[in-house]
């Protein structure tokens, strides 16, 4: 039902590149905005944890934003950083110099949120995946300033099909391995996982007391999550499964957002699922299709 109602929206005429670009840009902006003043606690050289300690856990050649701050050594560094970050997110949303902007935003996001992984969590990685695909896919060809400035034609059907297939396969790997790893533990089978998730102190300021629920219901909930995740790749093969399946996955993420407070993470997953399975491009290509004149020239 959820899927059907989505399909009735006027957005149906769009390809998936537009929501991917705009949604990812908004998510990137939100990643920064939602931290507010706490940003300086986590991501400055003189923050909560000494940078020398954070640097030990850094595992790639990318510098952490704290190291860049130390090198530049300017008291207005963080004002400049905020301005740059928000501007890049805005430019990506409107699709101006898209590949270049996506590339710089990707690097900046990596330096801030994932280069030093101690303060990062699932959302940061999915936001990064979104930015990476904005760079890789021809997102500038869909309702962008670039498209109007350079008079670009929309991405061809085969290109759209390939790009969306890549996203679908990626999400299938994500859910399959997540479900498989959960299946190795006992708590997802016996209902303990859901009980625990609802009582973790940092996630649940309200502490949902679900003691009144029968034990079998918690077990069934855990097993349902496992099934949904492990069977996710079936969506690639069985088109009929897609509507109920993706609808269930979206409901699952909404519940995660409500009960665990992981709103940004849920939003990122809903966005990626939306882009992967809605506005689907059909593989069949019309043999009579002719490229527009501009393209032929």
């Amino acid at each position: 039902m959820i899927v059907s109602s989505f399909k009735k929206l006027p957005l149906r005429q769009l390809d998936f590149l537009f929501p991917l670009r705009v949604g990812t840009a908004c998510l990137a902006g939100l990643a920064y905005y939602t931290l507010g003043d706490d940003f300086k606690l986590f991501y400055t050289f003189d923050g909560l944890v000494d940078y020398t300690l954070l640097d030990i856990k850094k595992d790639t050649l990318l510098p952490g934003i704290q190291a860049i701050e130390k090198t530049i050594d300017n008291k207005h560094f963080y004002q400049g950083l905020s301005f740059t970050y928000y501007s890049l997110a805005g430019l990506l949303a409107i699709g101006f110099a898209t590949p270049l902007v996506a590339c710089i935003l990707l690097l900046l996001h990596a330096c801030i949120f994932t280069a030093v992984p101690l303060f990062s969590y699932g959302f940061d990685y999915f936001c990064q995946i979104g930015l990476f695909y904005c760079l890789l896919f021809p997102t500038y060809r869909s309702y962008s300033v670039d498209k109007y400035l350079w008079k670009l034609i929309p991405a061809s059907t085969p290109t759209l099909y390939r790009c969306q297939r890549i996203l679908q396969i990626h999400l299938s790997i994500v859910y399959f391995f997540n479900g498989l790893n959960k299946a190795f533990g006992s708590s997802w089978w016996n209902g303990q996982a859901l009980w625990k998730a609802l009582h973790l102190p940092y996630f649940n300021s309200a502490q949902w007391d679900v003691g009144f629920l029968p034990h079998w219901l918690l077990s069934a909930g855990g097993i349902l999550v496992l099934l949904l995740e492990i069977a996710y790749p079936l969506n690639l093969l069985l088109r009929r499964l897609q509507e109920p399946f993706i609808g269930s996955i979206i409901i699952l993420h909404l519940l995660i957002s409500i009960f665990l407070g992981l709103s940004l993470f849920s939003l990122a997953m809903i966005l990626l699922n939306y882009c992967a399975w809605f506005h689907q491009t059909r593989k069949h290509i019309n043999p009579n299709y002719q490229l527009p004149k501009v393209c032929r020239e």
Partner: protein, 188 residues
């Protein structure tokens, strides 16, 4: 030529993702088992060797695929809860903070992810003054660093007592409890 480059690129991209996740699942599965199949162990070692090349790691990092997908897997771990007690020059308690003055929900999510590093302190069986391994030493240094940061935010503070608890759930909320796993006093 173009399709070949495309296929190579896609294979490399998904190869990295699959490798990262296969490795993680392998360790998750054999963590509690005594015997590991020789052939699989060899494959894992060869893969680890190949993956050491910086270019592959940087690519994995930039594409957001350097971490395996295993959120809340194989089990949901218990959370580690911090408490900071800040004392003034006369040794009287001025504040007690559950977390370092975080104002936002998202910050709390990041902080809860960060506190998982205190897991190494659980193994501190004798509560001795000296850490028994590098991970413990690291966790202690981080706890000191946080305490120092909070203490220095107010000039009247001369001492910070940092406590780290493991939150354990039972069959009902009434029985839930916080178990102390680490406590130190830091003089500023």
């Amino acid at each position: 030529m173009k399709p070949i480059i495309f296929l190579l690129g896609v294979s490399l991209h998904f190869g990295i993702i699959l490798w990262n996740n296969f490795q993680h699942s392998y360790y998750a599965y054999y963590r509690t088992r005594q015997e590991e199949p020789r052939a699989l162990t060899d494959i894992v070692h060869i893969g680890q060797h190949v993956f050491q090349y910086s270019i592959l790691r940087v690519y994995a990092k930039l594409s957001g695929n350097d971490m395996p997908y295993g959120f809340f897997a194989p089990n949901i771990g218990s959370q580690y809860v911090t408490e900071f007690r800040l004392y003034n020059n006369r040794d009287s308690l001025r504040f007690t903070l559950g977390n370092p003055k975080l104002k936002n929900r998202e910050s709390l999510n990041r902080y809860s992810s960060f506190t998982r590093l205190f897991e190494s302190l659980l193994k501190e069986a004798d509560r001795s003054d000296k850490p028994t391994n590098l991970e413990q030493a690291y966790s202690r240094a981080v706890a000191y660093s946080m305490a120092r940061y909070l203490g220095k935010s107010d000039p009247n503070i001369s001492q910070v007592k940092v406590s780290i608890y493991l939150y354990q759930e039972h069959d009902s909320l009434a029985q839930d409890a916080y178990f102390l796993i680490f406590q130190r006093t830091i003089n500023l």
